[in-house]
């Protein structure tokens, strides 16, 4: 009699637990817009050490090109939901951004994330908002001039970046030294601990521009990989993705994008980087008709 009561009690407890976890599991399947509407916060993951996409400037402010684009998305979210939403930034790095997105800690990654097919298995990408390629940063006068010179040399890279993966898979003769973040990699280069540091060309330009003596450094080599930057978001969320893409298209169409580009990459910008004809055409052609 006591025995039967105990078993019933235990079974009820497990059913209750299961139902509550099931309920939680289902709650986690809400769309990003629903989540933003419910919490009132739009959280964006971005870089802190990648000028000029996301970095801390001399006035100790967290600013950047990608952050400005994310603010445009924020404005459209507020319009769509019809109420003010808080805009929050969180640091994300190549090795933490996908987990941050899947766990719901951030709603959008707007930094320097390259859109690749394998990454599309885990996240969805917006339209490409910047196009560059991987190169090498070396001390001026270094014998390394490109990808063909790296065999047997120590090359610094960031863990989780596409550059590290390309070198590891396609150029195993280079000695990869992998760091968790960009500042550590650049310090290693500055101290001669690595012979070259690899990253996307524009990020290297940012590092060079922010270095104490920019003339000591050179960016060398043809693009050895194509790096289109996109904003990443959780999969299977077409409504949110439409908002992000429409924001980008409106910005390119309405020239707001080019004003921001001029601000960060123009001759007076943080990191001068003129846009090539090909990239301009590509950006314009991404804007599909209304």
């Amino acid at each position: 009699m006591v025995h039967r009561r105990r078993i019933r009690g235990v079974v009820l407890l497990w059913v209750a637990l299961g139902l509550s976890v099931w309920g939680v599991g289902h709650a986690a399947a809400e769309t990003t817009l629903e989540k933003i509407g419910r919490t009132g916060v739009f959280t964006v993951g971005t870089r802190t050490g990648s000028p000029p996409f996301g970095f801390i400037n001399k006035q100790n402010e967290w600013v950047g090109f990608s952050i400005d684009l994310a603010r445009l998305v924020h404005a459209n979210i507020e319009k769509k939901l019809g109420k003010p939403i808080k805009f929050e930034l969180k640091e994300s790095k190549p090795d933490t951004r996908i987990p941050l997105l899947s766990s719901g800690a951030v709603d959008l990654i707007a930094g320097t994330m390259t859109d690749t097919r394998s990454r599309r298995d885990s996240v969805d990408f917006s339209l490409t908002f910047f196009a560059t390629g991987a190169q090498f940063l070396v001390k001026k006068g270094s014998p390394i001039r490109g990808i063909k010179d790296i065999a047997g040399k120590r090359i610094g890279a960031q863990q989780g970046s596409t550059n590290e993966r390309v070198l590891r898979e396609k150029h195993p003769q280079a000695q990869l030294v992998v760091f968790p973040d960009q500042p550590a990699g650049f310090t290693a280069l500055a101290q001669g601990k690595v012979d070259a540091y690899t990253n996307d060309g524009i990020q290297l330009a940012g590092l060079q521009a922010k270095a104490p003596k920019p003339d000591e450094w050179e960016i060398v080599g043809e693009f050895y990989s194509y790096e289109p930057y996109g904003m990443a978001m959780r999969k299977n969320d077409s409504e949110f993705r439409a908002i992000v893409n429409n924001t980008l298209m409106e910005a390119i169409e309405g020239r707001e994008y080019f004003k921001l580009y001029e601000k960060w990459f123009g001759p007076k910008g943080e990191v001068p980087y003129p846009m090539s004809e090909i990239v301009l055409a590509f950006l314009l052609m991404q804007v599909v008709p209304k």
Binding site: A29, D95, I98, G160, V177, V178, T187, Q191
Partner: protein, 249 residues
């Protein structure tokens, strides 16, 4: 996967990422690097610990002060800061050619070994000091009265007893050392935690990758604890430690 479906979660488990595409080799390489790093760090830390722990109990004040200075200096700085110091900071004072040689010969690995050794050496010194100081002074006086010098008394009487007494806290410190070796990834050492993160960035299967790391560290630590337990049993001096158990009438 039935519990997962029941819970309505949408995560797609794929444990094979841990061994396909050469990832198994990565994990193995990571484990070996962790073990190498920890073993070297442990040996040097124990030596430093014995020397400085004994120094802190010496009858001569200058020696005691030197031991205390080492311990306080090295244990009061976070290990992560030490790693950055030995890798990015200290080599700067060496001449250029020495720096270049160091860079070409495993600077990352040896900086990590140095950082782990000095930090855990300081902590071991405290553990050993506690062990030595728990030995009644009468033992030391008895040893010296049989004609042994101070150093001989330490070497043949005090330290052997102290080393047996400190096996439990020393095991604790050794496990800490093994776990702290994971910090070496911040200066580019490809140890186990680095490899699990590598698998995660390549496959986006965070749960599987980090579970693998968790389980491996757990097994390594339990293994070390088991070995230390065995060491404790095989080296014990009968009657030295009071076994607190059922009162015998």
């Amino acid at each position: 996967m039935i519990p997962v479906l029941f819970l309505g979660l949408s995560y797609d488990f794929r444990w094979s990422v841990l061994w396909t595409d050469g990832h198994g080799g990565w994990i193995l390489e990571g484990v070996l690097t962790t073990l190498k790093l920890s073993a070297l760090g442990w040996v040097i830390a124990c030596l430093l610990g014995i020397v400085f722990g004994a120094m802190r109990t010496a009858p001569v004040r200058i020696i005691r002060w030197a031991g205390a200075a080492y311990v306080e200096f090295f244990r009061n700085v976070p290990l992560l800061v030490w790693l950055f110091f030995w890798y990015f900071g200290a080599p700067q004072i060496l001449p250029q050619s020495a720096q270049e040689w160091f860079n070409r010969h495993g600077a990352e690995f040896w900086s990590a070994v140095l950082g782990l050794s000095v930090y855990h050496g300081a902590r071991m010194a405290e553990v050993i000091r506690a062990g030595i100081q728990s030995i009644p002074r009468t033992q030391f006086e008895a040893a010296v009265s049989t004609g042994l010098s101070v150093v001989e008394a330490y070497r043949y009487v005090i330290l052997p007893i102290a080393l047996r007494l400190i096996i439990p806290p020393a095991t604790n410190e050794s496990l800490n050392l093994l776990k702290n070796s994971s910090l070496a990834l911040t200066i580019g050492v490809a140890e186990l935690t680095f490899m699990t993160r590598q698998i995660e960035t390549y496959t986006a299967k965070a749960f599987e990758a980090f579970t693998a790391g968790t389980l491996i560290y757990l097994i390594l630590c339990l293994g070390i604890a088991a070995v230390m337990g065995q060491v404790e049993r095989s080296f014990q001096i009968p009657g030295l430690i009071a076994r607190v158990g059922r009162a015998e009438h």
